[in-house]
Amino acid sequence: MITIRISGELAAADAVTFNERAMGEVGQGAPTMVLTAPYQSFAERFAPIYAEAITELETDDRVTGKFSPPYAGATRYPSLAELFALADSERMEMIGAFFAVDILRLFLPETAAGARWAVRSVDSVAKKGDLLELRGVVEEI
């Protein structure tokens, strides 16, 4: 079951939306969001997206003729399980560059007319026990 808390208060899933063209525009003092969902079901849905992205990145490496590490110090692309076992900073470097919006899209609508909040940034995506925990900042719209 997905739960969303805005500044600690429970919020309905359709009360939160995002616009990928407006990510990163965060005002001072904006409310925080914590989204939790069962990790297993998340992993099942996210795996094909992740696999396709890695294939594209490998293709890009072949075009440029060099391996571009997806996070500092990487020597290869991590599997999905390895991704969630990385240090937070390494994981978020990769997720921030490629997957933040893809993950949001698994949980939140992009066109919710009645939405009250819009996600402005994804600051942390981590596996916490059996749960996926996504932390970010939202803005009231």
């Binding site: 939306t17 995002f18 616009n19 990928e20 063209r21 407006a22 990510m23 990163g24 525009e25 005002g27 992205a53 594209e56 990145l57 293709t59 890009d60 075009v63 440029t64 571009s68 921030g96 560059a97 490629f98 992009e110 066109t111 919710a112 007319a113 939405a115 819009a118 402005r120 803005e139 719209i141």
Partner: protein, 860 residues
Amino acid sequence: MTGGVTRAGAPTEAIPQEPAATARVTRTDEAAISPVETAEQVRLLRDAFQAGNPDRVKDALHGYSRADRRAIVSAFDRLPGNQSEYQSFQRRIARLGLPNDNDWMTIAASPTGRNDAVARLHRAMASGSVDRQEVLSLYGGRTRAEITALHAGYRDRHAPDMDVEAEIARRFGRTQQHDLAAARLGRDVRRPEHRTAAALADTTQVSGAFDGRARMLGEVLQNNQIDAVRRAYQEMLPGRSFDTDMLSDVRINQTWSGRASRARIQAALNGDRLDYVSQTALFLARGENYISEADARPAFGMVNGRDLAWADVEARLRNDTGGSITTALQARYTSGETRALLDQVMRPGAAPATIANQTEQPSVRLAAVEAALNEGNYLTSYRRRAAFSELLAGIPVADRAAIADAGRARPDSRGIEDQIRARFSGIEAERALADWRGNIDAIDMLRFASRGQATPQELTRAIASTSLERRAQLEAGFNERHADERSGGRTPFQTAVDRLRAADGEASRNLDLQLNLSRLGTPEGLREAQTRAQELLREGRGEWDSFRRFAMDTLKWSGPQLDASGRELFTNIRRAEREGRLREGQPVPAEIETAYRQVVADYQRYLRDQGRLGEAAAEVALFAGGTLLSIASGGTATGLILAAGASGGLYVTTRAAVSPVYADSSAGRLVTDAGTAAIGMAIPIAGRLGPAVTSVFSRYPTRTVLTFSNSTEQAAWAAAHIPGATPQQMEALIAATYSRNSGFVVGGSRIRGDFHGASDLDVGFTALSKRQAERVIAEHNKLAAAGDLPLRLETYAIVPGRASANVPEIMRVEEFFQRTGVRAPGDPRAGQSYVPSGSVSFWRDADGIYRVEIIPPGAL
């Protein structure tokens, strides 16, 4: 429409769902109108209110859904001064005495969009007040029905026609309300007696229940139409008795006024004019209910007619009153308009007169004026004077000489002006005399307003049409007339304005607008206005003095907001200067440059005089320069102030909300949430700052392809034409994209020219996949975050073929930068419009030639 109709009261009866064919009308609560269109309609609405033209008010809102109307009026309400325009409009309409059941009135009466036309619809049945997607309730006595636009005559090709009569019959059943509603909706109530009968049958139509009904019947009687109305009523409502129905409600009321009303109604039904007038006189004499002159007029008009005499009324009532009805009335009404009217009809040998001009007779008006002057001993002086002014507002100035003559003809009258002086003192006497003489000018109005004795609307009206020259005359005249009020280094004019600003925020805003911001009328386009400003400045010293005064007044009166804006503005400019982001701008016209320098000098002098050394004098003065130019441009008529921002970006702030928006210099438009305007003034303002950066399209106004021999040249050119970029940054982009066999395209605010210091660089990639683009962006931004590159790239990967919920498929990157539209929900600026930026493309040909293509907005 869903659901049906309920009959108010218990029990509630559900009405069956209507057939699908006629059930297509649904309520919509979401506004679909664009911000630009909203701004345009707001402008039209304001113009209509200012012009006092109800038809234009109607036009400004006609055809929009309720939600759209609400969006328009909400935007209207947010702009300073608009509410007062609306109130002024309403007052003018009221003074015109126009009926309030027209459809335009329905619209105008509900500027907030919250009070829909429910009740008024019942009276007016105006198609214009029902939008096609609305469902309005119709009340008929105790019955309520929901009426759609279809009922009221709206038709379009998507909506099935409806048999209005049948639909109404189904909803109301065969009731009195049904017939009236059907007749009105079908616009079948045409003959006067039918209309009157319909009105009489509808108890909700008659205010004051019995009294109102008696008065309406009196009017019918006056016109000898009792029989015609009775027939019409009974034709409309077969089986009903007009007389019984008229008396039925009164019968159950056993109060004195109920019995009196019943007597009056019975007299009217009997066609007995003497009895009707007599009963009305008795009603007046008993005085249990206040009865207005308007109520008494039809009855006593009969006395002043050909076949009745007051002596007959006396005789008729002798038995009822046990005394003289004349004495009773005179005891009850010692002064005022009713007494004046009664005096007219009770006067022995009074000549017949028409009803229409009864109250316009000078002697009647004299009585009313004297009453207003002499009554109200328990009121404050201000309240008494206000009541006097209110009465005078209804008497044309041209008619007042005749009233004064009537007073002089009466031996016991002291003359109106003497009575005013005896009754009032000080400024109250000044205002009352000025009101009576009808010669209040803007100077007086400003003074009265500053003492709380004129409404903002009055002040606005008095000043609204002042020209540049007139405004200077006003201030000089005020200072001269009130020279004795100079104090503390402030001129009388300044003192009056200070006092007004302290007392009334709304008046203050109006004053700002009227005195400072609308000198040159409505904006005709800033480009033309700039020329006008130059012409005015060339005309000589006198005009310059006026300009200077406007700028200085704006500075002085706008206080902290301007100071804060000026400081912020110049902090940004200095930062941009330090960072080397400011470049040479276009030259400023010499006249404006001179004007600007004088403003700076004046303001510095002003600060010295006011002992405010230490303030950021030059900064605020420079802002004043922008304000001056804005005033000169006429662009501030809507409350906007232009200011130059860091790096040559231009901002517009509203005086109330400080809402920065941007200028699209390439498109020649200012883009604001209040609409668009030409941008002719943008270049001079930015140019004056010297340091302004202009868009790449200033140099390349048409689609242009340039060639370079290597990437270093290409990067150098890019850095020279893309604000904020450096050759190093452009080389990094070139390396990242060319190595992937792609080109890249720069667009967005740094190409459009409306960027700010923190603006990202918008880059699209012509032949990269989404993941490749994301990688290039991420690696580039990592360097930017470390301070190795100056600008971050926009993180949204702009690549061909990409589409998402809020971004239609990108066909070409250059096409993406030509898009226009409204920002999607979820965007911090959702609902605001955006305009094309144009683009600059970079690529390397297969033959090794490096090319750049500049594509201005609209040139793809």
